[in-house]
Symmetry: C2
Subunit: 544 residues, 2 copies
Amino acid sequence: MTDGTMQTYALTLNKFLDHAAKWHAQAEVVTSHAGGVTDRIGYAALKARAMRVTAVLAGQGVHAGDRVATLAWNTQAHVEAWYGIMGMGAVCHTLNPRLTAPQLASMLDQSRARILIVSADLAPLAAQIVARTASVAHIFVIDGELPELRAAPPNPAVSALEAALAEAEGETAWGAFEETAPSGLCFTSGTTGKPKGVSYTHRACYLHTLRQLQAGVMGLTSSDAVLVAVPMFHANAWGLPFAAPAVGARLVLPGRLTDGASLARLIQSEGVTMAVGVPTVWLGLVEHLENSGGELPSLTRIMVGGAPMAPALMDRIEQRLGVIVQTSWGMTELSPLGTSAPPADPVRSAATSGRPAIGIDLLLTDAEGVPLAEQRDVEGHLRVRGPSVIERYFGQEEPATDADGWFDTGDLARLDHRGNLYITGRSKDLIKSGGEWINPSEIEALVAALPQVSQAAVIGRPDQKWGERPILLVELAERRSITDHALLQFLSGQVAPWWIPDKVLRVHSMPLGPTGKIDKLKLKAEYGSGPEASDAISRTRAVS
Amino acid sequence: MTDGTMQTYALTLNKFLDHAAKWHAQAEVVTSHAGGVTDRIGYAALKARAMRVTAVLAGQGVHAGDRVATLAWNTQAHVEAWYGIMGMGAVCHTLNPRLTAPQLASMLDQSRARILIVSADLAPLAAQIVARTASVAHIFVIDGELPELRAAPPNPAVSALEAALAEAEGETAWGAFEETAPSGLCFTSGTTGKPKGVSYTHRACYLHTLRQLQAGVMGLTSSDAVLVAVPMFHANAWGLPFAAPAVGARLVLPGRLTDGASLARLIQSEGVTMAVGVPTVWLGLVEHLENSGGELPSLTRIMVGGAPMAPALMDRIEQRLGVIVQTSWGMTELSPLGTSAPPADPVRSAATSGRPAIGIDLLLTDAEGVPLAEQRDVEGHLRVRGPSVIERYFGQEEPATDADGWFDTGDLARLDHRGNLYITGRSKDLIKSGGEWINPSEIEALVAALPQVSQAAVIGRPDQKWGERPILLVELAERRSITDHALLQFLSGQVAPWWIPDKVLRVHSMPLGPTGKIDKLKLKAEYGSGPEASDAISRTRAVS
């Protein structure tokens, strides 16, 4: 006698597009290009084109497991490239055009992608990249006319992907691989260290998608039109190019334009119901509507993540747009969604990043990784576990997890009695002064809430007596001023006396990393060893 | 260089309760007992009790892979038994108390369960069962006082599970097995053939749960209280004992009482938001409210399945209860959900069973299993595929699927242009007359819609000239009458002339199978060889 059993069925990402092509054939992927041109295609036609991409790649000798790179915006052609690459079992290595050519070339040296798919308007950057790496043998251009690429010899071949698709022939292997096969490769932005590659698997992204689709998380349905204002080169665009076809939702892509006017036009013309992106994108949208007076009646929800959300901005977005804002927290290493606030939550707060859905677990530990006895209402080091969480970085032998399988996020966090997550800082930013820890994030949040202040950062500086002491860097709001004394006086009574920074420095423009976060590595390099270097001083200006 | 990868994480069902215990510790499982007593327990406490069940079973020598049987209603103790059994990797064999003792004993002979967990009020049936099988060595009684069991020697030992839980000791193995391990065993009701066992796996049920949780399917969240009016001994209670803890929804269990008055009281007192069960249960609820005048303000949605839904009943439920009715279609072999109508669908129809969500695929074929060239707006034999669909029946060597991996549901169906499924009949019920097929379901649906008719069935009878000819059996509505001539005249023009039954027979009470469907095997045995046997005639009565 043998036990009965259920069917084998590999959780591979091509199945999302297979499902959409069969059951939501006419549901559209819509792309807005510069100049007001809008492209649209149904999922059935998009799948046919994606399979032609697979045929082109196979013709170039690409096999399952090989990396294929993309350097492109949120467009239909990029989605086709994703599915064409992943559908054959190759690995889609997304390159972030906001990084430098040397950084991107070094990533290609690691991934050894022989094929690079490039947006026409990024051809100049591509030329700089391929001049610095021997990896790329062929460049396919999408989203525009074939440009002239001037790279050092031996130049890679350059051709238009559209022309190659027209000539593509033959049956293509599609979805015939294990669910544990790698699907994508994305390097972390590296504002606090050397970029490391996260190699996603089909299974991880498939299960991430199912988590995301829960009614208490993103809750997309076939009635939705979802605007993806988070770039496809950053952490799978939060998984939306998978989630939308999985339910037959309309996928609305803004190309490279995420300014308020462009997004407002797109939301209005496409009847967007849900939008996803970082807070600053929605600030731009609110400001545009405040100036232009338009309305967005179809839009009901916005999910924000990637950066802390200011309470005032959240209120402003909810009130001006008439939407519910769902806060969230995630990381490239988490595929990327970690926690999110449920859409139906009657009590919404910008301070919390919401709760974990089934499939991701959180643990608070001390600095050595020992679980805290009490997991609620105390601050700890945040560790996570789940099928969509990293085990090892690309090319690394040693695991990125501890002995119990937990991944250390590097974040400091607190959980309230309902299980809501509050990110309170980065463990690497902690300042050790007199043997005790100072959390810069708490000071930064207080100072940044002042109307006179646009952005604030606290970093440590070596100190002979205390080991380290904090200094405060501020970028003031336009046409506002405040004295050093008033700034520090404001903190008095709100933080421990020894947390109050020793010094205030004014910066004209806070340095930002490629994902919009304050670049603390750069701040530490410039201001962390003080007294301030003359070249740093030359770039700051006393405005009070 | 090695590829990076994501964490291993087995998709096992204990993780739903682990998640609920940690993140929704106080969310409740509520049980209504006869006599108005209500038990309630938070998920954290329930998990602790389930782990004690595991300890008791381990103490009885139960190992991973062993079957443990339950014969019980929808109660907290039954949920604890489920998780206690499945959490250690043993297999929960649910027995349907509406079957006969010989049927159930033969199932136990197949599963070889040594432990039987029994509701106290089902002890008499348990005694009859164990008298017929040598499998059961120990009976644990739940939900009532320890009864005296009179079985033939050698009697199994009998004890109260609650007493055993109080004495349970030691660490228990919990969740330490592969996701492909079997989790449950459920025999099909067998209205059209010999009962066959469906052996669920953890992976199949886990992925079924994630499909079910999508916003476009059941869309449960932590704000919901879900009433499970479908029995836990039938196809995993449609997966709700998994889905509710997976999101921290309140799980409301009606015990054995699913009459209208009991359900109305429970919905009101527990603020139930969503309810799930077969259409007749909701008819009972509507009739109770029509008589008693009560309201159910918290209830927003009802998912129905397991039997066709009459349009008039659907309207009546929606109007009287002020809810949205979501139709669905499923099978024991599908874990069990196949398709469902989305809650937000503006156009709802009782005739359709909704659409497939990602993770289940449908195919229409001819009688030989060859896919129809056109998949929309034609009738075909319905085949399904997916990770929660059966591959082989319990104890069978040969697969239940065809060469391409599709499972033949035995249903006849049509798909409309939106992908909505219409079940149009059972292929085994088809009647071949003059070399052409007659679909009894189409005739039955027409006749059953007549106000004079309560239930209708069409079966084939051997015929020398045509091979088979249809006869119509009707059970009239109370205090109504209609002549044979009027019945057949009514069909004229609505079906092909040669589809019109040769004969009308009146039955006083249509024989029903254990899940409430008309028992066609019994009808064929009694009336299928005609002229009618005298004992059959004695049980019918001419009422027109």
